[in-house]
């Protein structure tokens, strides 16, 4: 496939790895923000190509992983209501809530449907006028324009039987929170290429300047990631701290303006809870007043437990780059993708699932 295969060429990957080896004189710790990048790093064993002096920490950029238990519990409650068709991206079904997951609700007869796009929900609502259709609108900035369009058009077409359980988070406040933590070890970031495709990277410039840290907007294929690492290490070795754009075939500095406009139309910035991390100020998106009638939390009010079920799960620390999946006692023993204890073992982009799936190739 064009724009995919050429970025997986192993000869060029080796060349890049070689240059990285030659330029690295000191130990450096980098973090890739996005779970998609974590997945590629594990899948292609990229860490094995790098000098031992470079450690990669895996960041919080997995929306499935950071959706708080409270919202999973609300989803479970709403999905079990008799008159509801609950729609979600497939990854969310096995994420543990405080008592149950959505998959259990489905196996007990709940009408839960996996959709590919938020727009699919409109058709389900139109085909089932006697039912309430609820969509679990999760995601980072990458998914926000799609969710925003589904909500915007629901209002435009005045669809009455549709609502959205929103779990939208944004990256820059999470980066700040990692950098503010006394446990922080990150010296350079690979920023998430698709998040920046939407938002651009101007927001990252004050962060890079304030914390004197290189931030390289990076794509998802092996060559992209290696080049992102190369640029980041080059800055560190030269004592620079700037924002650079490795993924320029998709990312423009100002981002995708029509998409940003629609996000602005539907959403406003709100505080959000991140699973395993806690509340991060101004780190999420919530519906604006004009769209509040599409808010599933208001339409189906409920009290939920919201407590973590498995005390042994350290996924919060994994998501902040403080621990690695191997450091968890439960990893691969009581916790596997078939019976996950934490969300990072559910999503293919969660660090625990990526390590588990490709552990045969991990050193």
């Amino acid at each position: 496939m064009k724009f995919v295969d050429e970025y997986r060429n192993s000869k060029e990957a080796m060349q890049l790895a070689d240059v990285i080896h030659r330029q690295t004189t000191r130990p450096w710790t980098l973090m890739e923000i996005c779970g998609g990048q974590t997945h590629s790093i594990a899948k292609y064993s990229l860490q094995d190509l790098l000098p031992e002096k470079i450690s990669l920490l895996h960041g919080p950029g997995c929306p499935v992983c950071v959706t708080p238990v409270t919202l999973i519990d609300k989803a479970v409650y709403i999905a079990a209501l008799p008159n509801v068709i609950f729609c979600s991206f497939g990854d969310m079904l096995r994420v543990p809530g405080s008592k149950e997951d959505l998959f259990t609700v489905k196996s007990k007869g709940g009408d839960i449907r996996v959709v590919y796009s938020p727009m699919d929900v409109h058709k389900i609502a139109q085909d089932n006028p006697e039912k309430e259709v609820v969509f679990f609108a999760i995601g980072f900035e990458t998914t926000a324009p799609a969710n925003a369009m589904a909500i915007y058009q629901a209002k435009l077409e005045d669809i009455k039987n549709i609502s959205f359980l929103i779990s939208q988070v944004i990256v820059p406040p999470a980066i700040r929170s990692i950098l503010e933590s006394p446990d922080n070890r990150v010296q350079g970031f690979l920023a998430a290429g698709h998040v920046c495709t939407i938002m651009g990277y101007q927001e990252y410039e004050p962060i890079s300047e304030k914390y004197q840290i290189p931030i390289v907007v990076t794509g998802f294929e092996p060559l992209d990631i290696l080049q992102g690492i190369y640029l980041c290490i080059k800055q560190l070795e030269e004592g620079r701290a700037e924002v650079e754009n490795q993924y320029s075939r998709s990312v423009r500095k100002e981002g995708n303006l029509p998409a940003q406009k629609n996000i602005q139309e539907v959403f406003q910035i709100v505080p959000r809870q991140w699973r395993g991390i806690g509340e991060i100020a101004q780190s999420g998106l919530g519906l604006r007043e004009a769209y509040s009638r599409f808010d599933a939390e208001k339409k189906f009010p409920c009290e939920v437990d919201g407590q973590e079920r498995f005390a042994e799960c350290i996924s919060g620390l994994v998501l902040q780059g403080i621990k690695k999946p191997h450091d968890c006692e439960a990893f691969g023993k009581s916790c596997t993708p078939e019976s996950p204890l934490g969300a990072t073992m559910v999503s293919t982009e969660g660090a625990c699932a990526a390590y588990y799936r490709y552990q045969s190739v991990q050193s």
Binding site: F89, T142, H194, R249
Partner: protein, 81 residues
């Protein structure tokens, strides 16, 4: 979740700017994709698609840069060896 893949736009339909869609070819598999967020898209452009929406038009010149940098690095580093 933020998985987004490139494909080639083969047809564009819909006069309503809010409903602009097209068929995108992903290595032989055709899918209908919402094109509202890439208003300037043309047939044969490559777009990055996420959950049914095209989120950017790939810049062919920029796409080549990864390889140009590699060539430069090779040429630059070689004499040092």
């Amino acid at each position: 979740m933020c998985l987004a893949i490139p494909g080639r736009v083969t047809t564009i339909s819909g006069n309503d700017p809010l409903m602009k869609t097209g068929l995108v070819n992903f290595g032989g598999i055709l899918k209908e994709v919402n094109l509202v967020y890439v208003p300037e898209v043309k047939v044969d452009d490559y777009v990055i698609v996420h959950v049914g929406f095209a989120i950017s038009i790939l810049d062919e010149k920029e796409a080549q840069k990864v390889f140009d940098t590699l060539n430069e690095l090779e040429n630059y580093e070689d004499p040092l060896q």
